[in-house]
Every structure is written in structure tokens, then in C-alpha cells.
């Protein structure tokens, strides 16, 4: 993968565009040379490449689950329940004799979908709120900030638990709940960025030539927050997957027989003495996926701004 447009930033199209349009285009999209520079930084980061490799593996597992899974993840084979790893079942079987490898592979699909949808909700709602409240300030900003304070007053996964308690137990509810939890994160992040961008000369210049507020936010301010949003989103997917798995484990998320890593663990824990493998592998899958996103997020942050490195 040497194409610079493949690291999650909006790619550049190959179609020729008139000079005038190209100019406007470049105001919104990061330029080709910047992408190449970022990729040049990124590819030197071994941890980041490892994260990318892990994620590629799980992404393939999720995308091609139907082909890759050796068995039907819901096929019950009671007589061989809790059997350990064997050549026929590489990761062993669960209490109902279902093939664990197949279930872990299908779980990858579920977890990635949950993570992406939850983060999309967070970005879709949080970014506009943060941008508008930061750009205009005043009373609405004050009210929004207090509301965010209240949401952030619920520690971590607790707000998601409360929301699930309100909306009811289930997979869709979990995606929405985890998504809502990430809204204040984006709202606060983007607001902070917008506050400092708003004071810069190019925003004054845009205003001086008569650009409307909507246009300034969309064309001049938001593109400059793209880098932090991308970094935050990579890390946020990791925490969304963790939260969703936690809810599944507590019995508040995906319900049996769904092949969801958290609820698989919740079932398997009572057989921990008889079948340690059934507890090990789903958790290992969660850890690797989350690790992948964390490594990738760290590396993208370093590549986008080497000074941010910790």
C-alpha cells in the first residue's frame, strides 16, 4: 500500500479539474503533497504499521466472514460441547459445541460495525455542535457546554449503561448508546479547535470578503480540525468497541446466540474451569482489535504532527 490516499483521509480524485475548481477543492481537502508527507512519516512508524496489519486482518475476517469461517457460527453440536482446540476446531468449541473460531470471526464483523456506527453518530452530532457552539459563542455555547458537563459527569461506560437502561437491552440500543456517549467528546474537542481557529487571520480575511458564517465554518474552519478528528476517531473506535463488549458482557448488549465477543465471554465465564479456551479467545480478539486501533491512532497522530508525539 504505497498510495498516499489510503490512510483514511479523503482521497484525491484523478479526474482533471479546471484550475478554478481545483483551487477551491484544495481549500477543503488536504493537498496531495501533504498526504504524501503524512504517509511518509507514518510508514516509518513500526508500531503504527503493526496496528494497521492487525486491523487489516480483522477487517478481512469481518468482511469475508462467510467465506473464512470454517463452520456456521450458530451450528450447535451438543455432544462435543466445551471441547478444547483440535485440528477440526482450531480454537475449540463452546458450551453448545459451536465452533469458536467461526464465532470469533463473525464477532469481528459485529464489533467493527458497532465501532464504526457508534463513532459516526458521535462525529455526525458532536462535530456540528462543537463547531457551531465554538464559532458563535454566547448563550447557546454556555448552555451546550453545561449539557456536556452533565454528560461527562457520568464516568465512562456508565452513561452508556444508563442509556441502555432507558432504551432497553439490545445490539442497536448499544450502538446508539455508545454513539451518544462519544458526542460530548467530539463537541468539546472541536469547540476547542474552533475557538483558536476563529481568532486567526484567514478567518478574518474570509469574513472581510463577505463569506457567510456557514461558509466560513464549512470551508475554512472545519477542514483545519480534520486532523484531530481523524486521530480522535481512530482512538474512539477502540473505546467504542470496548464499551460495546462491556455492555455485552454485562448482559445489556447483544443477546445470545449472537456471536458478539462480549456476550460470548459472559456465557463462557461459568465454564472457565472446564474450558479456559472459550474464555481466552474472544477476549484476545477484543484486545487485539483495540490494540490495533490504539497503535494506528498513535501513529496517525505522530505522522500528522510530529510535535504532538508523547
Amino acid at each position: 500500500m504505497t498510495e498516499p490516499g489510503k490512510i483514511g483521509l479523503p482521497g484525491d480524485s484523478a479526474a482533471p479539474v479546471p484550475a478554478q475548481a481545483a483551487l477551491r477543492w484544495s481549500a477543503v481537502r488536504p493537498s496531495r503533497s501533504r498526504l504524501r508527507m503524512v504517509w511518509g512519516q507514518f510508514r516509518r512508524n513500526r508500531a503504527g504499521l503493526a496496528g494497521l496489519a492487525i486491523l487489516a486482518l480483522f477487517l478481512c475476517a469481518g468482511l469475508f466472514a462467510t467465506v473464512l469461517a470454517p463452520y456456521d457460527p450458530y451450528e450447535i453440536e451438543l455432544e462435543s460441547g466445551l471441547k478444547g482446540p483440535s485440528p477440526g476446531h482450531l480454537l475449540g468449541q463452546d458450551e453448545l459445541g459451536r465452533d469458536l473460531l467461526s464465532r470469533v470471526i463473525y464477532g469481528a464483523r459485529l464489533s467493527l460495525v458497532i465501532g464504526v456506527i457508534a463513532v459516526s453518530i458521535g462525529v455526525g452530532v458532536g462535530v456540528p455542535i462543537g463547531a457551531i457552539s465554538g464559532y458563535f459563542g454566547g448563550l447557546p455555547d454556555l448552555l451546550v457546554q453545561r449539557l456536556i458537563d452533565i454528560m461527562l459527569a457520568f464516568p465512562g461506560v456508565l452513561l452508556a449503561i444508563v442509556l441502555v437502561a432507558i432504551m432497553g437491552v439490545g445490539l442497536v440500543q448499544v450502538m446508539v448508546a455508545v454513539g451518544i456517549v462519544s458526542i460530548p467528546v467530539y463537541a468539546r474537542l472541536v469547540r476547542g479547535q474552533v475557538l483558536s481557529l476563529r481568532a486567526q487571520e484567514f478567518v478574518d480575511a474570509a469574513r472581510a470578503v463577505g463569506a457567510t458564517s456557514v461558509r466560513i465554518i464549512w470551508r475554512h474552519v472545519l477542514p483545519n480540525t480534520l486532523a484531530v478528528i481523524i486521530v480522535q476517531s481512530t482512538l474512539q473506535i477502540a473505546s467504542a468497541i470496548l464499551s460495546a463488549a462491556a455492555l455485552g458482557f454485562l448482559g445489556l448488549g447483544a443477546q445470545p446466540p449472537a456471536a458478539e465477543w462480549g456476550s460470548m465471554l459472559s456465557n463462557a465465564r461459568q465454564y472457565i474451569r472446564l474450558a479456559p479456551h472459550s474464555v481466552m479467545f474472544p477476549g484476545l480478539a477484543i484486545m487485539l482489535t483495540v490494540l490495533g486501533f490504539n497503535l494506528l491512532g498513535d501513529a496517525i497522530r505522530d505522522a500528522l504532527d510530529p510535535r504532538m508525539r508523547i
Partner: protein, 306 residues
């Protein structure tokens, strides 16, 4: 600084009210009639009406909230739907267990995290630094409930050194506390390392070395204390992770704390229990954040709050 503390206290009032209102509204926005849910499917209309009156659900919303807030202030959280016992008593019985677990977890996290971070920073990019940071990254990515299960597997099932679940002596506390502290320790280790590295590069450290101080004195007396300041902030920020981690840890180890109570309450649709435990945890979090902010102002004399 007193002005700052007062301001911070005043700012937390709307947050606390907001949290209380959200928790209060929780039962009201539930699909269906809360009185009917509490009474159960088989109850007659009269019983449902009676419960509605008892709960004050026939009153205007704001008056209901005022009544709710007043009774919470008196420590009256209503009665559990399932056991009919006062919820306040249940909370009071469970809270000390959660505090014990969270304190032990925090202690382990700070101890392990800070030492690992400092050791890494003293020899940056060495083998030990790489190893520590890899372990920290793994710890950060591990779901709390899974690391708890793995610890049970190794230390309770295989080695039989420690009990797997339940409460009792200190031996019951070890696994839950380590489980809870692990991910926070990882974050603290990463933060201490970068903070320590930055301090070690500063001019006054070069001065200390130039005047011939032993490396141990440089690290301990000059670098360590200054490096701790951002670490305190991170510890404060991590209190949320720690509290929500407690909910999961308590479930894994059948630890009778508030978190377990909350999850049991949700699964049993026991809303007075859910309300009270959410309120207590959120309030505790607000209070802890407040304390951390004030402590921060006290610890770092370079910061002025106007």
C-alpha cells in the same frame, strides 16, 4: 485561590442538578407507564393508581422533581421494587465495598504506573523501556472484564493461590484490585514516562548534573517531583475509567458493590435501585473531579487562578 475554589464549587451545582434531573427523568421517559411497570402486569387498575399516587406521578413534573430532590437530600431513595427494602439502606451497605475496591485499585495503579513510567524514562529506548511500554499498551487495550477472567484463570483456577470470587479477607481483594488498577496503571505509566522525559531534558536538570549531583539525587529530588504534576491530572481524569471499571470488575468477581447493584437493578427492571446507584456513582465522580481540581491548585504553586 479561594475565589477559584468557590467558583469551581458553584459551577458544579448546575452539573449536580442536571445529573439528578437526568436520573429523575430516566424513569419518566421509559416506554410505558412506570406505575404499571412497578406494579407488574397482573396488578389491578386500582393498585396501579395507588402506586401512581404514592410515587407522586399525578403531580406536575417540576414539583415531582422538587420532591425527588428533597427526599434524595434526606437520603431517601424510595423502596426497591423487588425486595421492598429501602434503597438507601442497600446503597449504604454496598458503598463501602466499592470504595474499598476503588481505593485499592487506584493505589496499585499509581504505584505500578509511576514506577514503570520512571524506570522507562531513565533509560529511554532501551530494551526495558520498550518492554514496559509494550506491556502498558497491551494493558490499555485489554477489556477490564477479560483481564479479570484471565487473572482468575491463572491465580485461582491453575495456581490456586487466591480465591476467585466473593468478599472476605485481604486475599479476596487482591485479584479485583489488580484487575481494576491495570488499565489505569498503563495510562499512568505512559504519562509518567513522557512527563519524566520532558523534565529530564530541561535546563535545571542539566544544571543539577553540571554541579556534580549524583544521578539518583537528580532523578529523585529534581526530576521526579516536577514530573508528577501532569501525572496527578491524569490520575484525576482516570477516576471515571476507574469507577466504570469498578462496575465491570464487581460483576466478574461477584463483588457486592454499587456497580453490581446497578447491573442487577437494570436486569431486574428495579428502577429505584438503578436511579439511586447511578446518582451515587455520578455524584461521587463529580465530587472526585472537584477534589482533584482543588488539589491541583494546591500542589502546583506555578498556577494562579483568578
Amino acid at each position: 485561590m479561594w475565589a477559584y475554589i468557590t467558583k469551581r464549587l458553584l459551577l458544579s451545582v448546575p452539573v449536580i442538578l442536571g445529573v439528578a434531573f437526568m436520573v429523575f427523568a430516566m424513569v419518566r421517559v421509559l416506554p410505558g407507564d412506570p406505575a404499571r411497570i412497578i406494579a407488574g402486569e397482573a396488578a389491578t387498575q386500582e393498585i396501579v393508581e395507588g402506586i401512581r399516587k404514592d410515587m407522586g406521578l399525578d403531580q406536575p413534573l417540576l414539583r415531582q422533581f422538587a420532591t425527588f430532590a428533597m427526599s434524595v437530600l434526606r437520603g431517601d431513595f424510595g423502596r426497591s421494587v423487588r425486595s421492598k427494602a429501602p434503597v438507601g439502606g442497600e446503597i449504604a451497605a454496598r458503598l463501602p465495598n466499592t470504595i474499598r475496591l476503588a481505593t485499592a485499585g487506584l493505589g496499585i495503579a499509581v504505584l505500578v504506573g509511576v514506577s514503570a513510567g520512571v524506570i522507562s524514562a531513565i533509560r529511554p529506548y532501551s530494551l526495558i523501556d520498550t518492554a514496559v511500554m509494550l506491556v502498558a499498551l497491551a494493558g490499555l487495550s485489554m477489556p477490564v472484564f477479560w483481564s479479570g477472567l484471565m487473572l482468575i484463570l491463572v491465580f485461582a483456577v491453575w495456581l490456586k493461590w487466591l480465591p476467585a470470587v466473593g468478599t472476605g479477607g485481604i486475599e479476596h481483594l487482591v485479584l479485583p484490585a489488580v484487575t481494576l488498577g491495570m488499565s489505569t496503571a498503563a495510562i499512568i505509566a505512559r504519562m509518567s514516562r513522557s512527563s519524566m522525559l520532558e523534565v529530564l531534558r530541561s535546563d535545571y536538570i542539566r544544571t543539577a548534573r553540571a554541579k556534580g549531583l549524583a544521578e539518583a539525587a537528580v532523578v529523585n529530588r529534581h526530576a521526579f517531583r516536577n514530573a508528577l504534576i501532569p501525572v496527578i491530572t491524569v490520575v484525576g481524569l482516570q477516576m471515571g475509567t476507574l469507577l466504570s471499571g469498578a462496575v465491570l470488575t464487581e460483576t466478574v468477581f461477584a463483588w457486592p458493590g454499587i456497580g453490581r447493584l446497578l447491573v442487577e437493578g437494570i436486569l431486574a427492571r428495579d428502577y429505584p435501585i438503578v436511579q439511586a446507584s447511578v446518582l451515587v456513582v455520578a455524584m461521587a465522580f463529580v465530587m472526585v473531579n472537584l477534589t482533584v481540581d482543588v488539589l491541583y491548585a494546591v500542589v502546583d504553586p506555578r498556577i494562579h487562578y483568578d
